[in-house]
Amino acid sequence: MGQFFQDLRYGLRILTKYPGFAAVAVLSIALGIGVNTTVYSWIEVFLLRPMPWVADGDRIAVLENLAPSGELLTSSYPDYRDYRAQVPSLAGLSAFQDQPLVLGEGREARRIWAERVSADFFDVLGVHPQAGRFFRPEEGAAGGPPVAVLGDGLWHRRFGADPGIVGRTIVLDRHPLTVVGIAPPSFLGATVGLAYDLWVPLPLERQWNGGRDRLAQRSDRSLHLLGRLRAGTPLAAAQAEVRGVAQRLARAYPDTNQGIGATLRPVRQASYGAQSLLGPLLAVLAGIASLVLLMVCANVANLLLARATARRRELGIRAALGGGRGRLVRQLLTESLSLSLLGGIVGLLAAFWMTDALSALLPPTHLPVAAMPGPDGRVLAASLLLSLVAGLLFGTVPAFQAATPGLPLALGEGGRGASPGRRPRALRNLLVVAEVALATLVLVGAGLFLRAFERARAIRPGFAPEHVLLVGVTDPGPAGYGREAAQGFYQRLAEQLAALPGVSGIAMAEKVPLGFEGGSWEEAGIEGYAPPPTENMKIFRNLVSPGYFSVLRIPLLAGRDFGPRDDLGGAPVIVVNDTFARRYLPGVSPLGRHVRVWGRTATIVGVVATAKYGRLAEAPQPYLYAPLFQHLDAGMGVVFHLRTAGDPEGLLPGVRRTFGSDPALVGFTAPMSEYVGAALFPERTGVAVLGCLGALALVLAALGLYGVVSYSVTERTHEIGIRMALGASREDVVLEVLGQGMRLVAAGLAFGTLASLALARALPGISGNTGRAGSAADWSIFAAVAVLLSGVALAANYLPARRATEVDPVAAIQRG
């Protein structure tokens, strides 16, 4: 141990003696470790431990329904009860859905995000309250007492962490509820990436909704289900049982469940939550970040090889004094490891800052996005381990190379004429080739992402989000507030907002397309269309007010827009898009046709152009719109769409004045063009992160190349002197040195391009890339990367080449 500390002390002293070398090496390692720690931290948060607060998290699984198309769906309450009763492999199954609520009244009112949950929700997750208790079975039943559980954040923010709040009454959406407990600080809710403030039992909605019970409808699929496997039960066994129940439900309830399957999968594979958006991207980022770390290792190994050559005299003395090969290797490895640890520590500090970068890339959303936690103990330990592995990776070869038998100084004049030989030089060249190849890979990866991003961004969404301000308004919901009153409330609000200066058009809708929340859908029976037995007639839909299509510039192709009479008292009507018309009613006019939806028969009164609803890259899909005021319900928020000629944010002061007395009603405000950026969030994140990694790779490759060529020029000073004495011009010398460096670049580019072709085929799932690496567009990326790398390499080579021309032939020959 004493010798280890002695080696460590000498190692650190060497580093301080060569601060330039140490700074470059430590900074390179810090960047490599920082980037990998950041990506690993994201993977840990979203994929490996998406619910760290859950006891025995590996036994928690998501139960989702499965459409015939393979699309994953939420479930209905009756289905939930059946699955809960009929899957013996599950120790428990809970249901939940999120909902914005207003806490408090008047000026004290604040909008919060809550989860409505089944009574066993916390038991299934294995969470324990920090104060009070969680829900009792009777509180989860219809007509149960109105109770709530506070989140730790809300408890601190709103109630000053007063433990006396348990047992007291709070007002939620103007209904009194009793607080029965406080969730532990770590518990944020059941959706990965979101942080909820409060939990209430599922059936409360029924009591607040004038007795109308949407939960009783098997067609109302709005619940997420989370189950806990019994100890020792394999997931596959439970999956088989879940599939069996789905088949029984499809037979028993064909109207709602025909063709609907079910699947049980780990939380990280759920179709909702941040992990569903970022999972595939993180896999690519992890791969690219690893490549960057390999580049860092190659770079630092190169630096160490150069330093070891410069330290041949010292190592020779050590060997002559009895330092065996093992001892010298240990000394050099200790130095490498101290370098890697220093770099690792700096990288970890950087990772705390970089981890939050993901939040900065988020488009505006009204969802309660959780703050990104910094790297936890596991991530820190893994990163330090990674630093040590990197240290071994970049330190081992140079250490063994330096301590090779036969290297020691020649007795006599200090190893006169001792040359480091061809082997270290060849190794350094090989490392640079590897670095250029890796840089090519990283840059091509970034380029492909950028291309995919541009391609996605170029897709027109089918509506005009520019110059539109979104104002999300939560349900006003006073006790006993009827649907007519709600309609009156929203209409009055619309009139006030429409009167704001600069507003040229206004419309309302329940959903905003291309946001994070995803869409809602309804089962539809279309007159004149007989679906095959396995076809699920699930049609995505939106509830919109009159004027919606004109405000969003969605072309009306036939029929009419909704009008003021399309309300509760009017006959049920819908507007469909042209994809709906072509898919279900080909060759006939859809106008006047009937569609059975929401349990009623509605008449198609208009056809509009197809837009993008969930993702920009999606194929055209059937879609239907229904009048907002025919379906307005308690708990339903509405989003106002305000069109203006100028900057939509210019409308904000007027909007705030309009809601002055009741600001909690406003859930969110955002320019629509930013809001729909959610549709490109993974691509945007990929481009931003890969762009940074690409730049880093470029710098590392340039540094590596510069180091090798520069060192080679120093080594070849004598030779260059002789060449010049023999008549070589400065241009000859520059070309000779440039040629040496550019040959390495060419080799690296060739290997990197081959590897990139394989990478290009791995990307389509993430970026919407066609995957046909070899298309003209892809080749232009390869060409651009080759030109960029060659340009940077040329610059990195030119500096030492210039230096080579300054060699004084006489002095060089004399020194030799």
Partner: protein, 223 residues
């Protein structure tokens, strides 16, 4: 102590062998002070490297304290080197990044000497060579003579039976050179065997035998 029989060293360039040492037969008794002389390229330093067990690529037989070095594995040779041999170099070859104290400590630490014993041996050497006041200085802060003094102190700190000195005064002025040679003489009188390489006739007079090398051959010996 040392017996070389038919030792040869050459470099292979394709099919051509370039000999550096040819059929060296040499016996050195314990307690001798031997000087090796010869022009540049005669093979003096190569011979010292072989005797010092720094070079393992040669042919012939080499017995050190009756042990057959030519049959030993690299680790065994390294162990023998560590235990019995100290080196003094023309360019001092102190490690720039270590203090005087640490330079003296280094060979002992390579011999796995316990820390307490190392401290005692280094303190003794510092005292013996009157360099206690310099112990925290780095080599660059010392004069050439002082550096070579440290070099000799480092060579003897482990109490070696044999000191190999390659042009130990080559970089020193006359006064410093005499001081170092007197030191070697004293060490020899105390029982340490010394082999030095030198071009200096004056330095050779400190020894009791001179071996002449030319083009890799031993061309003469005189006592």
């Amino acid at each position: 102590m040392i017996r070389l029989q038919g030792v040869e060293k050459y470099y292979q360039n394709g099919h051509v062998k370039t000999f550096v040492l040819r059929r060296i037969n040499l016996d050195i008794e314990e307690g001798e002070f031997v000087t090796i002389m010869g022009p540049s390229g005669a093979g003096k330093s190569t011979l010292m490297s072989i005797v010092g067990m720094l070079d393992a690529t040669w042919e012939g037989e080499y017995y050190f304290l009756d042990q057959p070095v030519h049959k030993m594995k690299p680790k065994e040779r390294a162990a023998l080197n560590k235990q019995y041999i100290g080196f003094v170099f023309q360019s001092y070859h102190l490690i720039d990044s270590l203090t005087v104290y640490e330079n003296l400590d280094l060979p002992l630490s390579y011999r796995d000497v316990k820390k307490a014993q190392r401290q005692s041996l280094v303190a003794e050497a510092l005292d013996r060579f009157h360099i206690v006041g310099k112990k925290d200085l780095f080599p660059s802060q010392l004069s050439g003579g002082q550096q070579q003094l440290v070099g000799v102190a480092r060579a003897v700190v482990g109490n070696p039976k044999l000191i190999l000195a390659d042009e130990p005064t080559g970089n020193l002025h006359t006064g410093q050179a005499e001081e170092i040679m007197e030191l070697f003489k004293k060490l020899n009188e105390e029982g340490t065997t010394i082999i030095q390489v030198t071009h200096s006739e004056k330095n050779a007079t400190y020894g009791n035998r001179v071996v002449h090398l030319l083009d890799g051959w031993v061309v003469g010996q005189e006592s």
